[in-house]
Every structure is written in C-alpha cells, then in structure tokens.
Symmetry: C2
Subunit: 538 residues, 2 copies
C-alpha cells in the first residue's frame, strides 16, 4: 500500500519559488501524490514574506525569522518536492521538453526533463543605467533587505548632529498607483509632511551623481537635485521574461507573458504565474501586469492544480485592488481610476462621500473619504478609492466584490452589510455614496468634482457660519441651509450655481431646494470642502 496507485508518474518542473512558484508546486502535490515535482530557485530562499520586508526594515516586524515562511527542507519533507536552490534555469527546449539548469555554486550545467513546466521567475527592480553605488538599494529579497538594514543601522549610529537624509525614488506599484490615481495629494502630503517626509511628484529621474563609489545626489528632470546619505529605488519592476522569450513563448501587449484562463502560455505544457505574466483586468477588460502577492499566489495554486489534471477553476480576477498605509493614513483602491477611465475613453461619473468608520455616536469613529466611479448612464461600478483610517480596507473589499460581479451603484445601495455601532452605520458610507450616485442617475442632482473651477459660478455655501474657519471658496455666498428657503432672493436663479457644504450632504439638499424653485443650472460640489481640500490642487 506504500505505492501510489493507478497513476502515470508526471514530472512537473517549477522555475522560481517565490512569485507563485511555491504555491504551484505544493498545489500540484496536493492534487497529485504521484507526480515528480522539481523546483529550481536561483536564490537562496524559495518562500519568504516579500510584502513584509519594508515592515522589517522599519522595525515593526522585529524577528527576521518571521519573514521566512518556509524553508526548502520543510517543503521537501512535507510535500515530497525536490527543491534546488542556487539553481538558475538558463533555457527551455520545448521540443525535447527539457530545461538547462546552472548550478550557481559549482558552475556546472545539467538538464532536467519535464512533462509540465511552470514559470515563476518573478520580476526585477527597475534601476537607472550606469554603475551601482554602495549606498543605492533596492528591496526585492532578503539579501536586499539585509544590506539596506545594515546601511540604515550604520547611518543611525553615525556620530555628530548632521541630519541623516534618505531619498526614496518612486514608491513602487502600490505607492505610485495610490499617489497618482487617488489624487488625494493633499491628504498624503500633509501626513508625510508631519513626519519629516517631502514628496516630489510628477518629476523624472535623470541620474545619480557619484563620488568615490557612493551616490551623493539624485538629479531630476525638473532641474532639482536632492542630496542624501542613501537612496532606495522603488521605481517599479520589470518582468523577468528573458527565459520565456528565448523559448519563443508569446508576450502580451503589456510585455508580460501571455497566459490563458488556466495560466497556460501559448505552449499548453508551459504555464506562467506571478509577476512575469499579464492578467486580464476585470473592469478594463485589457491585459495588464499586476505584480502583487495575492494574485501570484492564487495563480500559482491554479496552475499547480491544472497541470496535473483538469479542474474548472479560472484565473484569479485582477481588479487593480491595492492598499497602502502611510504612517497613520490608509489609502486603497480597486477597479479603474479616473485617469485610467479617461485613457480608455470609458464614460465615468464620480461621487465623493465623507463618513465615519462607524456610527458617529459611538466613540472612536475615524473619518474616511470614499470616491466611487460609475458609468453615468448605466450606473455600472467602475472603481473606488478610499483614504482614512479604520475600515478603508473593508469598504474597498466590498466594492471589489461588487466589481467582480459587474454590479451597479443600485446594487451597492441595496447590499445588506453588517451593522452595529462599533462596526459601521445604518447607512454606511458605501450606501451613502451609492445613494448619491443613484440620485444623479435619476436626475435628482448633478455633482461636479472637487477640482471644479468655480470662479464663473454662483457659489452658495450652505454651512453654518461657525464652520467657515475651515476654509471658504473665494466669492461664495454663505447662506446656512436652514435659512436657504427664506433667503432665495439673494441669489440669481439664472446663473449657473454650485452648492457647497462640508461633506456634500447638505449641499445636495440645498441643490434640491434651488433646482425645484426655478434655478436653472444647479450642481453640488461632491464631497464638499473636505474633498476639495484633499483633492483639489488649487
């Protein structure tokens, strides 16, 4: 009974242990106890908490051992997988179904045949051309991490009062996406400024100035130069497609390896997963690269199962969902941004809602600003972005789920979410955003974005007088909402009118009053002064 019964032994070769590779190999084993599974990893580790590296650098994760999720020996023992580290797969012969493997310790080259091949070579950090200075770092693996941590420790221990300066170039996939797409520049900048961090946005890198093998400053396209003690490059990643390209596998328009819904390349015996592939965006319906851990892991699981037998699961949806914490602020997004929608020429309306993480009368509620994007005619959800404290992740995950199903803002208005005072509101910010969107769909109101130029409009600020200290729009006439019906005579009903308040809620009511009393062109500044302060650049 000690032999696997009724099985033709298949050889599965997995290239790369980190970006979905280990998931693929272990899933293959769970599905097929008889398979001969071989994993080649060119570095030392096959599995580590790559998303945890920054937190270890920063000291939130104190124990380096926590980053090592599983060792080659553990995987070999538990899953009966042949694990070879320090082995780089140099080429694929798809006709003979053989890979050539370089032993990086001995320099020897061997061959390994496969029935099914799974490529998970990941991606590499983008670095500027030219020689690499000793004080310029990337953060991709444990080796990078150890180097950076030593350098930071040395810098911290340096004697003297001279300030220590670091420049982070780019903010990686998530950071860049968030800063660029959310347009919540004010919010993030404020928080960063408080912590002694300065942001330089919309600038490009020309190069690093070197002296004695060290980088001394970074030169930007704007002409600015920033001097620092060390430089960390987070300029995004480039998929490691060399092996796949050399083997004649097809790349897609985003220059990632093209795969089908089972993660197969154009060769049905060769799969690819993780940062090297492109995936279909569930909202944009275009292929793009999403070098994020969740998708890599789920894709690895899928390929590992599929390569040893059919199963009906499909590739994980990519919705561009991402989340980042910047000190005390959490920012997250899913689906399309306004900029993406514009590039795709997808009609897109937006509403902003400011709300509490839970019922306002229960202690500890934190403010969040939620932006929901939807099709202006059909109400179909296109995306959402949120920034705040607690509960940002929950709201974005609900929208991501609705996007998965192709839902509309009317769906969102209906969803029966869990409510008790410590967890939400009877009308959650998600509901409030959906209500606002439905109101616009139904012709009850027209929202204009926080960035709208207002100098040619009649601006009616319906806040109470004591709120005006938080900032006003130049030229706005303040008529508190409760007085609006009595003071209509102060306004010109023939002029284009924009109603503003703190968060947009009273503005909506004000606009309803005006538009039903003969005002011809009335709009509401969505998200009110809160959104305008956070989003508008002027």
């Amino acid at each position: 009974m000690n032999d696997v019964v009724n099985k033709v032994k298949k050889t599965i070769v997995v290239v790369g242990g980190v970006a979905g590779g280990a998931s693929a190999a272990t899933r293959a084993r769970r599905c097929d106890e008889s398979a001969h599974i071989v994993l080649f990893e060119k570095d030392e580790h096959i599995s580590f908490a790559n998303c945890g590296l920054p937190y270890y650098i920063g000291g939130e994760i104190k124990d380096r051992a926590k980053l090592l999720i599983t060792t080659p020996a553990q995987v070999a023992q538990r899953f009966g997988i042949e694990v070879h580290t320090q082995r780089e797969v140099m080429s694929i012969d798809r006709v003979r179904k053989v890979v050539t493997v370089l032993n990086r310790e001995t320099g020897e080259t061997t061959e390994q045949s496969y029935d099914k091949l799974i490529l998970a070579p990941g991606a590499s950090p983008i670095v500027p051309p030219g020689p690499r200075a000793a004080n310029v770092f990337t953060l991709r693996n444990l080796h990078d991490t150890d180097m950076l941590k030593s350098a930071l420790d040395a810098l911290a221990a340096r004697e003297g009062d001279e300030p220590r300066r670091a420049v982070v170039v780019g903010a990686g996939f998530i950071g860049l996406e968030m800063v660029e797409q959310l347009h919540h520049k004010g919010f993030v900048e404020e928080e960063l400024g408080r912590r002694g961090v300065r942001l330089y946005l919309g600038d490009g890198v020309l190069g690093l100035t070197m002296k004695d093998g060290l980088a001394t400053e970074i030169r930007l396209e704007s002409g600015l130069s920033l001097a620092a003690d060390l430089f960390i490059l987070g300029m995004g990643v480039r998929p490691n497609t060399q092996l796949a390209e050399a083997a004649g596998l097809t790349l897609g328009p985003s220059r990632g390896v093209k795969v089908d819904e089972h993660m197969r390349t154009n060769d049905p015996d060769v799969y690819a997963v993780g940062d090297v592939v492109e995936v279909l965006h569930g909202v944009a319906h275009t292929p793009l690269r999403v070098p994020l851990a969740g998708i890599a892991n789920r894709a690895g699981r899928l390929a590992g199962g599929h390569c040893v037998g059919e199963n009906p699961e499909r590739a994980p949806a990519a919705l561009g969902t991402a989340i980042v914490r910047v000190f005390g602020v959490v920012a997250a997004c899913t689906g399309l941004s306004e900029a993406q929608a514009a590039r795709m020429a997808t009609p897109c309306a937006t509403v902003y809602v400011e709300g509490g993480s839970h019922a306002s009368y229960y202690p500890g509620a934190q403010s969040l600003l939620l932006k929901v994007l939807f099709h202006p005619e059909t109400g179909k959800l296109l995306g959402a972005q949120a920034v705040g404290g607690e509960g940002v992740d929950k709201r974005i995950d609900v929208v991501a789920t609705a996007l998965h199903f192709g839902g509309t803002v009317r769906d969102l208005a209906q969803i029966d979410l869990a409510y008790a005072p410590p967890f939400g509101s009877a009308k959650d910010p998600l509901h409030m955003a959906a209500f606002a969107a439905c109101n616009q769909l139904d012709g009850l109101v027209r929202f204009v974005p926080p960035t709208t130029k207002l100098h040619n409009s009649q601006v009616v600020d319906v806040r109470d007088a004591h709120e005006l200290g938080q900032g006003v729009i130049p030229g706005a006439l303040n008529i508190p909402l409760d007085d609006l019906r009595e003071r209509l005579g102060e306004l010109d009903p023939s002029r284009p009118t924009v109603v503003v308040c703190r968060s947009g809620k009273r503005g909506y009511l004000g606009a309803r009053i005006l538009s039903q009393r003969g005002f011809e062109d009335v709009a509401v500044l969505t998200g009110g002064m809160v959104a305008r302060r956070l989003v508008a650049a002027d």
Copy 2:
C-alpha cells in the same frame, strides 16, 4: 421665485419617526420640495440612536445627548416637515384617505388627509403576560433607557457586599440568532464565563415570581429558577401591525405587513417600512421580518422617494446580515445558517477555516473562525458566519456582497481583495474557505463537520506531538503530517478514516496523501481541532 414651480402639492403623512419614518419623510422632501409632509410620532423623539442604547447603558457612550440624532425642531426647520410628537395615529380611512390622530397630551382627536401614507410604527418588545414589576425592563426607546440606567445606578450604589445580580432574558434578534445559529457555543460561553456571565440556552420562560411589586426570580421551563435584583427583557419584538390590520392592509406569512419592491402595501397609496414589514430574504427567497436599523433606514429612503414620483430603485436586499460584539469577541453572520437551510430542505455543505485577521508575520494578527455554507453541487454561496476579533465584519460584508449577486465559492476564490500585511493575507481566510469548498466540489476532498461523531472511524491526527496538549480526539492515532507517507503501514486503508489537525489545513494534505494511496473512504474534519473545540458540544 419664492414659490415652488410647476408642482401639484401632494400631502405625505408619515406615521412614526424612528423605524425608517424620519428617513422616509426627509427623502420625500429631498425629492419633492413642494410636498406637504406631516410626521406623527406617538412618543417624544422622532429620531434617536436606538442601536446605541445598550452602549450608553454600559457607559461606552457617555453623553446622552449623542443618542439624539436630530430633534423635531431641527427636522421641521431644515426639511420643512410638520412634525407632531405625542400624536398617535389611531385609524386609517383608506376610502376617504384620512387618518385619525390622538393628541396624547390633550386627549383631543383630529383628522389629517393624505395623498400618500407611510407607516413606520415599528415593533414592541415581547413581554411575558401578567403585571409589570418595577425592576423588569425593556430597552426600546430613550424612556426605557433612562429607567434602566437609574435602576442600575441605584443598584450599583447599594450598600453592603451582597452580590448584585441581573438576568437578561433572551438576547434580542441578533443575540439569539448568533448564539443559536453560529453554534459557536463554546466560544461565546468561554468569553462570557470569564466576565461572570452565565448562559442558559435552549430554555423557555414560564414566568416571573413577584413579591411586593418586584420580580424576585424568573422561572424557566427546565424547572430552573434564577433569582436577581433586576431583569431585562430582550425576548425580541412584535411588529406593531394593529393599525395596518384594522385598515385592512395585508399581512404576510411572517405576520409583518406585506409590501412590494417599492415598499407599497396592497393599497398603492399606503407604504410601510421598518420593523413592521416583512422583507424578502435574498438567499431563502421567503418573506421574513428583519427588525434591524440598516434595512429600516434604506427602506424609508426608498418609500419616501417613491411616494412623490417614480424611481427605479428596489427594496433593500435582506440577507440576514448581523453582527454583535460580546466583550472581546465579535460574531457576525450573513445569509442562511445550517439550521435555516435544513428547515428549507436546501442542500448545504460547510467548510470552516481558521485564519488571521492579517498576515501572521505582521504583529497583532487576531484569530478568526470562518464558516462558509454553499450548495454541494453548484457551489452557490448560501451564507457565512464568523467569530473572532478584528476583521470579522469585513469578511462577512464581502460574503454578503457576493450573496447579493448570487455568487459561488468559485467567485469567492477569485475576488481580488485588498492585501498588505497589516490588512489581510495574500490568501485571505475568505480565499482559503473558498479554496476548501472548491476542492470538495472538484472531488479532491470530503469535509465532515466539527460535530461529527468519530468513535467508529479511524482517526488520524497529523499534528506534531507538541500540539496534542491542546486536546485530542479519543482513540486518534497521532502521525505527524511530515511522517505520514512513511508510516502508512500503521493504518488500515479499508476503514473509514478521518484526518484531523489544528485548523484543517494539514488534515487536507494528509487526506490527499491517504486517498491517493489506496485508502477507500477518507474525510477531513473541517476547521480541525479549533472548530471542534468551539463548535462541538461533546
């Protein structure tokens, strides 16, 4: 310009300000500036934070004023609504379209005509028959709250060392649902026990024993009597349907007022919202009463909009989503419970997953136990329950959203949720539960519930030896997973075999090894020893 233009003035009468009534009245105003809107409330307040009352009693909400969301005067001023408190609507003449209103302060009766009538009379606490003792309380409105708080303060100030005892009878809609449906009796009981609270479940109330106008003890059907200083009744609510019934409006099978998707009763000019109505359950497709704030508020908004003009929104989905915090434990549910599925004869499979609120290597992750119910052939999601700390609300809201769209476990496995180490895991517990369910759908594994009787099975415990101190199943053979392939000879492949581990994850791998090596009947105890300890009663 001070007059509303081009509008026939409609009179909207709203009965009851709390359970969706205020939402309906204010929404009607937002939609129709010209309408004459009259709100009658038999009590003093038209809007207060009813979900916040327990937290005020307990002292978490310190300021009573926070419970008063808005006053009659504020609503009158801002929305131009005629608000009459202490006015009880006694009858409806649907032919003449007139309601009769009792002024509870003067005893006078007047008539008010309507074009559209919205009933939001709410529900009343269920109390045992017989005289009401001064130390027996319900908690439905601010008056109840003030009475109970005084009594508790007096009891706390009582001199002497005698212990102060309170009995809470029933735990209301959410509490009862949670305790009964989650079957997480162990978990909740443990937490309550630590706090000096004892649970008596599955017992009925016979009555209260009275002495000198005070209740001294409560007698239960089991023969048990519990003495206490005060008694709080949370035995659920009965919808206040008297007015509707007397007017000949139709009740549904659950004895709530029957309404259509626009919240209209069988009289198209009469709407009903809130705790008085029954709603369609989005999963069960049967009508039921859901006396919860979120649904009441959203239904009020819908009726208020619909009664002054058509709009395409439909009634809020009811999925039975609910959440409760019991000291440090959060429990939440959505969709069907196993008991409900059984009553409906809906085929139902379950998986349990134990996971962290976020990545285990990032500090502060809290354990949560997630149960997902799905159709055993189609994989259609039927419901979910979760218990734990942080992040329980998020997981339940994601499942509620998927339920809204009629999604399957294959959808859930795909959803691109927001991931960064402080917020979740690359494979979230939701994904892990969906993967497990998909594995069962695909015939890779068969799960048996935590409550399974195991004395006739060959039980293989694949935990490491050092974990056995957390409890073992009598008669189980311990073979650590990493040794299983080598020690198969110790097992009988012809016997029905159940594999157990801590959480079910290793059990699944163990079962895959056994079933592919000649074991004929292999199952996994879903959720492992964690779920068995929390769920199983034996």
